[in-house]
Symmetry: C2
């Protein structure tokens, strides 16, 4: 029987020459070359704005030039603080108060004063951690000040944690707040502490999150030892990038416009410490133990208490300058052979708090090897249709500055030309691949995982096999908010964005002086197999985006993912009036998912019969679907955030908030605000409907002779 099969299966068209191109690209990457990139870029500390940073920029420029790329070094100038002094001391009752002279503390010099370490211990096993370019622990953009005051413990210092303290009658005013890392972006710990009236903030790494409770510590194992300190910026404004030029590029030499309102930079001193130092404080606290089940207790073998009690004070002194300094992005382009004005951008920052072997270099080395893959293929005559831009961003660590300034400076161009942005920050950290992305990139990423061998996998195992649980489930990618250099592309410009990464290693040296090549090779591995996998994933994804006959952005996923997000919001809203207000959007999202899927299928079958002019127009229409999420009014109180699809969570910084305008309205429990948001999403959906409709008409008229493939209803 089965008479219809032969007739039904006429439709599948070839996917074009892109497969051969991807194969050519992925024959290039080499683990040994990647190791050499690591040695080149991880040879010294390179904090943004320092001389080490300038040398790093020159290394990158020279490397891209040697590959034959079109390179430009884009300088920017903005506030990039540097640390001058950092003191944390325990002061027990009866001891003389700490002086204000700023003299370095001398251990044991004063009775009842116990100085705490603000720097990692030297290790014979890794002498690089003694490099003179390394600093004591510090949090960039801390206020400068000298405070001696009683202690309050605030758990992770989240909004909820400070609320609980208030409920429990704990007053933070005038106190030194002690908080542990985790649960939110550290900038929010500082913000909420300041809001609660604290005089200073000390942040420690808890061994439950990264140290002894996880496994052996450095150098015996990879986890944080008792002196390991997480540095990092505490800038938490309503926009990323240079704090003084929201929405505009920070051109070198241009002073901020007169009349620029004062920016709310942090005021109180904020200082990070290791858990060895934190244990000494905890051991001397005498207040009420943290309530059971509150989640405030951590992994230090001591009682966690809410207050230090009357005998304990902490002396915290932080001195930082807030000078303007220069840094730069290094931008290297391989012009497309057919559509030079369509840009696929691959980026990773180059600045680090220390050596940065993991952050960012675990991504930067994949960026470099991917650039080498594209240029080697080009040298053999294989050029992608579209332009591929490799970007090594500056000053990400201070507040995602370099990439935001570049995006702001090229806004009109990017809105027109930006096909997609792929971020690689700290990407190769283990054998387990993961990604977060804009909806429209989901299909292309899945397709890339199909083409890349699993790092340290069984023979023949591909990344797809691992993340699909051996073909058991559709691989899921996370929702992408902000948090790294994709933020301007994803949240400000409505360009399809992805963050590729990997994990599964036993250790964490994050933002510490131990983030060295020695640590990386011992913990993530000296075989560079994860970096090889990430490079190939980058090549496959960027290659698909740059060389497919029509940009492989999924139309169906806009509606499909919107359905999922709306359902989650609806589940969270609960109140019937809120749920009822959201409902009309759900039906429209379902219809969008359906028409999008029809477009994707029709486009796939029509590909061979499309003329170049049709393809160019379809590219534009598909890009317009990502732009459809933009609303120039921005989010409430955060006009820089123009994407109505994705934003950073406004109270934690790290998490992604999807459909943020509606999500924030739902969380506010305000029906009128929800209705207003629904109306604005109605406009977004209208643009999506129109874009999909226009593309459908174009595909139909371009491929009139052959209809869509019949469903495979056999016999």
């Amino acid at each position: 029987m089965l008479p219809l099969l032969a007739l039904l299966m006429l439709a599948a068209p070839p996917s074009g020459g892109v497969d051969a191109y991807l194969r050519a690209l992925n024959s290039v990457p080499d683990a040994q070359r990647i190791a050499q990139w690591h040695e080149l870029l991880g040879s010294e500390p390179h904090i943004a704005g320092t001389e080490g940073d300038a040398r790093q920029i020159e290394r990158l420029r020279a490397a891209f030039v040697a590959m034959g790329l079109q390179v430009s070094v884009q300088e920017f100038e903005c506030i990039l603080p540097q640390p001058q002094d950092a003191v944390v001391e325990i002061v027990m009752r009866g001891a003389p108060a700490a002086g204000t002279a700023g003299a370095p503390s001398e251990p044991g010099a004063r009775r009842g004063v116990i100085p705490l370490s603000t720097r990692e211990r030297n290790l014979a096993e890794d002498p690089s951690a003694q490099h003179p370019g390394l600093t004591a622990g510090w949090n960039a953009f801390s206020g400068s000040g000298d405070v001696t005051a009683p202690v309050v413990y605030a758990n992770h210092g989240t909004k909820q944690d400070f609320q609980k303290l208030k409920e429990w009658g704990i007053d933070c005013r005038g106190k030194v707040v002690l908080a542990r890392y985790g649960g939110n972006f550290r900038g929010y710990k500082a913000k909420f502490a300041e809001d609660a009236g604290a005089a200073a903030l000390v942040i420690f790494t808890d061994p439950a999150d990264a140290g002894t409770k996880k496994g052996k510590t450095w150098p015996e194992g990879g986890w944080a030892n008792d002196t390991c300190i997480q540095r990092g910026s505490i800038l938490a404004l309503e926009w990323p990038g240079d704090p003084e030029t929201p929405g505009e590029p920070a051109e070198p030499g241009a002073a901020p416009a007169a009349g620029t309102p004062a920016i709310a930079l942090p005021k109180i001193p904020v200082q990070p410490i290791g858990y060895g130092a934190a244990a000494q404080i905890l051991a001397r606290m005498t207040g009420k133990p943290v309530p059971e089940g509150s989640g405030f207790a951590g992994g230090i073998p001591a009682e966690y208490r809410l207050e230090g009690g009357p005998d304990l004070q902490l002396h915290v002194k932080v001195v930082q300058d807030r000078a303007r300094r220069r840094s730069a992005n290094v931008i290297a382009a391989l012009p497309g052979a057919v559509h030079p004005d369509q840009w696929v951008i691959v980026g990773c920052h180059h600045d680090a708090w220390c050596f940065g072997a993991a952050d960012p270099l675990a991504g930067t080395i994949a960026l470099m090897e991917s650039a080498r893959s594209f240029t080697e293929a080009a040298a053999r005559g294989e050029r992608p249709d579209r332009t591929v831009v490799f970007a090594a961003w500056g000053a990400e660590e201070y507040g995602i500055i370099g990439s935001v300034e570049w995006a702001e400076g090229h806004r009109e161009r990017l809105l027109k030309s930006g096909v997609a942005y792929i971020n690689l920050d700290m990407a190769a950290m283990g054998p387990n691949f993961g990604a977060a992305c804009s909806p429209s990139l989901g299909e292309a990423i899945r397709s890339a995982t199909v083409r890349v061998p699993q790092a340290r996998g069984t023979p023949g195992e591909m990344v797809y096999d691992r993340i699909s649980g051996g073909g058991r489930k559709d691989p899921q990618f996370g929702d992408l908010g902000g948090g790294s250099d994709h933020i301007a592309f994803n949240c400000h410009l409505g360009i399809a964005s992805a963050s590729l990464g990997s994990g599964g290693s036993e250790g964490n040296s994050y933002h510490s002086n131990y983030d060295t090549i020695a640590w990386y090779r011992s913990t993530v591995g000296a075989d560079y197999a994860p970096a090889l996998m990430i490079t190939r994933m980058t090549n496959a994804l960027a290659g698909l985006l740059a060389d497919s006959p029509v940009v492989p952005l999924s139309a169906a996923r806009h509606g499909r993912e919107a359905q999922r997000m709306l359902q989650a919001l609806r589940d969270r809203a609960k109140a019937p009036d809120l749920v009822a207000a959201i409902e009309p959007l759900q039906a429209r999202a379902a219809a969008l998912a359906q028409s999008g899927a029809q477009l994707d299928a029709a486009l796939a079958s029509a590909l061979p019969s499309l003329r170049p002019s049709d393809r160019e127009r379809l590219d534009q229409l598909l890009l317009s679907l990502d732009r459809a999420w933009l609303d120039s009014r921005g989010l409430e109180g955060r006009p820089w955030f123009r994407s109505m699809l994705a934003a950073s969570d406004r109270d934690s910084g790290y998490a992604a908030t999807m459909l943020p305008l509606l999500s924030e309205a739902v969380d506010a429990g305000d029906v009128a605000r929800v209705q207003a948001a629904v109306a604005r999403y109605g406009e977004v959906f209208g643009r999506l409907e129109k874009g999909i409709g226009d593309a459908q008409s174009l595909v139909q008229s371009a491929s009139a002779p052959s209809g869509p493939p019949a469903p495979l209803g056999t016999r």
Copy 2:
């Protein structure tokens, strides 16, 4: 920044040794070996019940035995008609009526009588088409009779076509109905013609569907020439398999039980012809032309008319026996190393109307090469965990008899042990892969496409790349109904089933004497690249099913596909009361999709920590989800059809009807019947909910230490 990546990505577990096993399997298939299978099995005609059939069964048995498989030849006995005589003549007014003596017609012997050919023309290019084992054109299970009567043209002879004739005032009673192939299963053409009172039915191949209008004809091209005749059974009962033993196996020698009610076998003579013969009839018809826009006009260069007019009669004589004959299934098993009682079954029929180079051998050769792949790997020490059964079915062409009888004879065993059934009927017909499947197999099939090179693809192109439109869309597989040997597994036993196939060749020799190896090599190709691809797809899918630590049946897809089917039904229902009745099921399907996805994800992460006993129990729970669709009451009027998920369309035979109980109720427009169906689907959904819940509890208790992976919300 990006602090959470390393921590977030700890979760992905290895997918196990199955990748290495699939690689081992797919290193075996060889195009030249496949060509040799073709020569072995396509050497002579082998109609079920004939001596050629018996020799074919012996060839298969010997080949499986030589591979080292455990082989059993399962004989069955049932009515397998054979043709004795076939005459079609044009009789013009004034000519003497055709005699009843049954003498062969002598061309030109009687004035006004024009004998028409009922057999393919001999071709110097392919002498095999003159093999003495080949027959004239015939339709098995035709009534025997001798009729001379005026002509009515009924287009495709669908229910709608006969309705239109009635509306137009055309009376079929006592007439010879002329209908063309296409639009439905030929058995329904005969049934509806008989219902309309026709005295005989003549079916022709229209050049618009398979001949001159499609391209060059055989032997210049691959399409049907003017003498090419489509044979085939016209059995159209409410159950497939042996007509006399619905639901029970047809044991050899066992006469039907006394008191068995008479079965409604076709009564009128039914005869197929080529379009050369049909053109001669059309040219002599003088009735009203077919209405414009009715879709009745075809591709013969003549006016298509509704009636022959007063001067034209057709003489149709068909003589067939209805003897009981024997045929057999050849069943070959490779016992599983860990779960010998779990069966993955791969099957294709072996009987054909002629040589069967395409139907079925384009699938049978992949079956044999897949069996060789599994046994070669086993010889090297690589045995699958579960048992793989290779089945070459008998007498499929007569009414899907062999596979149905086997399934009926092993019902209890299969309900317990059947993991999945993969059908390969006529599978390798071109480079474009396609599949139809049960929902639960969708993920595994996609995963298989990832591992198999695209036939005649660009370097590195995989099947997935082609069917995803180069990573543009999620590959879609068709809905699987009946129509071939999967019907018993899919519609009677609730076993996850798939039909793999491929197309894209320019030609059609379906069920004709031209379906020879010469035709296949000229039309589909002598490189056997499509068969190599289908073999590898079979190996990858069967290997995944047989060797994954837990059977890779997707829980999420039950709810997801049910949602889609319910939405389609709702769109078709339109009437508000019908739509309202369906609505509650939609919410439950959405919840099932969600809980199923959670189960799939949890199971994938928990795999490494599951004990063998947990895995065994999870296998059973996952199999129970497919069985959850069974309802022993069956469909209305068709109790053999026990799956509430999928059935053959009751009015066309070929198409799949999904959610058939509800679908038929909706089409009847009967609210009470829809409500009753909804209640029965409520029971199905309840079983699915329970199965998913039980599996979730088991996974949770088995993997308590590690939670589900956190979403990838970066920074």
